[in-house]
């Protein structure tokens, strides 16, 4: 513990400090906990749907509410849980893994969190007021257009997009700049932990995918608010334009939920196999090729439209091809486990479930990638089963594993193994009981998004089984919450490196001090903590000479991570919070009147200007350590 650095880098105390906080660990934890809150809320909506479908001709939920339930469930799980929780993990862990004292642009990072929080609350508050969106999580036109969805429900969906995508894009910039410029000396790109590679690739995908859905939803709001005709075929617009723009984002989105899952896998497997990962270059290249290929798949969501057959064939081929890089990674992990000394702790259980569930989801993915079969299965429960197998197998199972794995770093305490195993088996069995029957329901013709079904369809038994599985999942999540809350106070003390892992986040205290590393490390290998150090060391092992009374961090070069310059980082401030409130007022206002952009833009401009404006005291402190290039 270094009291001077502590004083320099910590967020201010109290409620005010909460609003001013910019420490990446604070923001990362908040993002993860907030995303988990939305996961619970969206999970409750799913439970309601399962209860409604448990038996035929049930009357628990009516059609109108049911539409809002499935739309809000899907929207929240994708936009408020899956993407942000991964970004939260990146925000917390990437700086630690690269040996940095902070993320790049910590104030912008805090701003992104507030925008995300307000956007998410906006969606759920709307649902409580019966204006929850009801046109499906991809909000197809013309259903979501002015003619078929009067009122504000579709606007709530579209503006929630603006909030979350703005936030997601800013975090992506933060992650990219952190990875490229704030790595510890010696941490060349060729030594970058696979977790960081995966988060870097994810951030790049976000950069190029999210603008598409923002543009699409902005055009939708314009159609609804000021009578533009982007999606109106009667005036030269086109409904398929929506689907192209949405899925140009939406398919990469699946992969930027999935690739962080791969990041967790590539971190957990070597640790519990007690050996370095097998095939590091192959895994890096697979991540990058997955990212590229994921931008060439979007039309496979549109096989049931009138696009040309040649186009469909191309997208079928691309959809099959993307299985290759995933398979390469799976074989690398299997080899790592095969050659290592295997240690079956709770994080590993979740990792092993990935192999089972994701592979099943991937196989049904190959099925629906073929046009004739897709035409049969489109909009049936088969697709619901497929997407849950892919998303939960590819992202949520690894995420739970990651939670068990890094919880000691976040809190300083280990989670209970016994409850962890209970949670795992309830979740694994519950998941399969809930979603496996949906394959059969889909093959039997049960459509998605129906609020009930007649008795003589014969779908009652499988639906009841599925609901029983949902109950098990709920029980599993409850065990998880009990475990997390209990272990936070009463868990066994973890120490710096409870798992004996090799990457840098385990080289500092648990939880890490505000400055992360008293002396930032100098890196000489891919798994720095597994590297024997010569006594006395031949090369430097740590960085000294950074100012302690100013938030100073080391900036390095992009490829080789050679020291470039010292940089003074900004102090905590309330302006990101206030700016986020101003942005929220502007966004929500603008679903009612276009003038909200003009008048709401003024407070935003004022707030961000005051945010930027240098404070004399900080300027003087920075000047004291300034050195011209």
């Amino acid at each position: 513990m270094n009291p001077v650095l502590e004083q320099t880098w910590r967020d201010p105390p109290g409620l005010w400090g909460t609003l001013c906080a910019i420490d990446h660990k604070t923001i990362g934890k908040r993002t993860i906990v907030t995303a988990f809150g939305f996961f619970l809320a969206a999970g409750i909506l799913a439970a309601l749907m399962r209860l409604q479908l448990a038996r035929p001709e049930n009357t628990l939920v009516g059609p109108d509410l049911y539409n809002q339930l499935f739309t809000t469930h899907g929207t929240a799980m994708m936009f408020l849980f899956a993407v942000p929780v991964m970004q939260g993990m990146a925000i917390y862990l990437v700086p630690l893994m690269v040996g940095a004292r902070s993320v790049a642009f910590p104030r912008m990072n805090a701003f992104a969190y507030w925008v995300y929080l307000f956007g998410g609350l906006f969606l759920f508050v709307s649902l409580l007021f019966d204006i929850g969106p009801d046109a499906g999580w991809f909000s197809y036109v013309p259903l979501s257009g002015p003619q078929y969805t009067p009122g504000k429900r579709a606007d709530v969906w579209a503006q929630m997009i603006t909030f979350t995508e703005l936030s997601g894009l800013l975090v992506a910039v933060v992650v990219i700049a952190t990875v490229f410029k704030l790595r510890a000396p010696g941490l060349t790109l060729a030594r970058l932990p696979l977790f960081v590679w995966a988060m870097l690739v994810t951030a790049f995908m976000i950069l190029f995918a999210m603008p598409s859905v923002m543009l699409a939803s902005t055009a939708l709001i314009l159609d609804r608010l000021v009578s533009t005709h982007f999606y109106n075929p009667a005036e030269g617009g086109d409904a398929l334009l929506w689907q192209h723009l949405f899925w140009f984002f939406g398919h990469p989105e699946v992969y930027f939920i999935f690739i962080p899952g791969l990041a967790f896998m590539s971190s957990i497997i070597p640790t519990f196999s007690r050996r370095p990962i097998y095939g590091y270059p192959a895994i890096v290249l697979s991540l990058i090729s997955t990212a590229f290929l994921s931008f060439g798949l979007w039309v496979h969501h549109m096989f049931a439209t009138h696009i040309p057959d040649l186009g469909k064939s191309f997208f079928t081929a691309a959809s099959m091809m993307i299985a290759i890089p995933t398979a390469i990674q799976i074989f690398c992990w299997i080899t790592t486990m095969w050659k290592g000394r295997f240690d079956l702790r709770t994080p590993m259980l979740f990792v092993l479930a990935f192999f089972f569930i994701l592979v099943l989801g991937g196989l049904t993915g190959l099925m629906v990638a073929s046009v004739p079969l897709d035409l049969q299965l489109h909009d049936t429960y088969f697709v619901v089963a497929h997407l849950h197998y892919v998303l939960l197998g590819g992202a949520v199972f690894p995420l739970f594993g990651a939670w068990y794995y890094w919880f000691p770093k976040f809190t300083g305490r280990l989670m209970s193994e016994r409850l962890g195993r209970w949670q795992f088996w309830l979740f694994f069995v519950g998941f399969n009981v809930a979603f496996y029957p949906m394959h059969h329901l889909g093959l039997q013709g049960m459509p998605r998004r129906v609020y009930t079904y007649p008795v003589d369809m014969g779908w009652g038994a499988l639906n009841a089984l599925s609901t029983a599985g949902a109950v098990m999942i709920a029980a599993s999540v409850l065990v998880f919450i009990v475990n997390a809350l209990g272990s936070r106070r009463g868990g066994a003390l973890a120490g710096e490196n409870p798992w004996g892992a090799g990457t840098l986040e385990w080289a500092t205290a648990s939880p890490p001090p505000p400055y992360n590393f008293e002396r930032p490390p100098v890196v000489r290998a891919r798994d720095p903590l597994w590297e024997p150090v010569n006594e006395p060391p031949a090369e430097p092992t740590q960085v000294v000479g950074l100012a302690e009374r100013v938030r100073e961090a080391l900036v390095t070069t992009v490829v080789d991570a050679l020291p470039s310059h010292r940089l003074a980082f900004p102090q905590p401030t309330v302006w990101p919070f206030i700016s986020a409130i101003a942005v929220t007022v502007m966004f929500i206002g603008s679903i009612f009147t276009p003038w909200a952009i003009v008048w709401g833009g003024i407070p935003v401009a004022i707030a961000v200007t005051l945010w930027f404006w240098p404070k004399r005291r900080e300027t003087m402190a920075d000047l004291a350590v300034e050195k011209r290039p």
């Binding site: 790049a104 912008m108 894009l169 992506a172 910039v173 700049a177 410029k181 000396p185 950069l207 999210m210 603008p211 598409s212 923002m214 543009l215 055009a219 314009l222 000021v226 533009t228 005709h229 982007f230 109106n232 005036e235 030269g236 617009g237 086109d238 334009l241 723009l245 140009f248 002396r519 100098v522 006594e535 006395p536 060391p537 031949a538 430097p540 092992t541 740590q542 960085v543 000294v544 000479g545 950074l546 070069t557 992009v558 020291p563 470039s564 310059h565 010292r566 940089l567 003074a568 930027f612 404006w613 240098p614 004399r616 300027t619 003087m620 920075d622 000047l623 050195k627 011209r628 290039p629």
Partner: protein
Amino acid sequence: MNHRSLDVSGLPSYKFGHASLMWWGLMGLIAIEGMAFALSVGMYLYLWSQAQQWPLSAAPPDLRWGTLNVLILLASVYPNHWTKRVAEDGDEAKMGTGLVVCSLFGVALIGVRALEFTTLNCRWDSNAYGSIVWLLLGLHTTHVVTDVYDTVVLAVLFFTPGPREGRRHVDVSENAMYWYFVVWTWLPIYAVLYLMPRLTS
């Protein structure tokens, strides 16, 4: 464990261009916004591909103001280049002057842009062609307004007394970089809005 230390206290406390963190942040934003422009142009071309005739029942936008804006934007590259250079030399008096001149170029551009909106020969709510024309022009105008505002704020900062860190010179340099982005994106948008419909009709 014994340690050997790498002493970084002799390193400078800021750098320009791609060595700086700011440059990478800016490039991230440029990638996002560049993508938004590219997709908007894609929307324009897609809607065109779905249409029998283009523009839909309207004449293409009048050339006068849009072309004048091309000239103003191209001319504005020089003062921005000059300001960027004096920022990298650390000459604060010249930076102030440069920022004022750049701001004036920006204001002139916004003035002409306002006139440009009056000679588009279509309304946003007349048909899909009008909608996409207004969207493209609106998107670019948003960038112009934001960057001009940034430039004005920086100019005010440099006329406010008090010591300033050298890092602020990096801000000035990167502000010019962003302006280049605004300039270079206008050229393809101008070509799409003003020239393409004329070439094919």
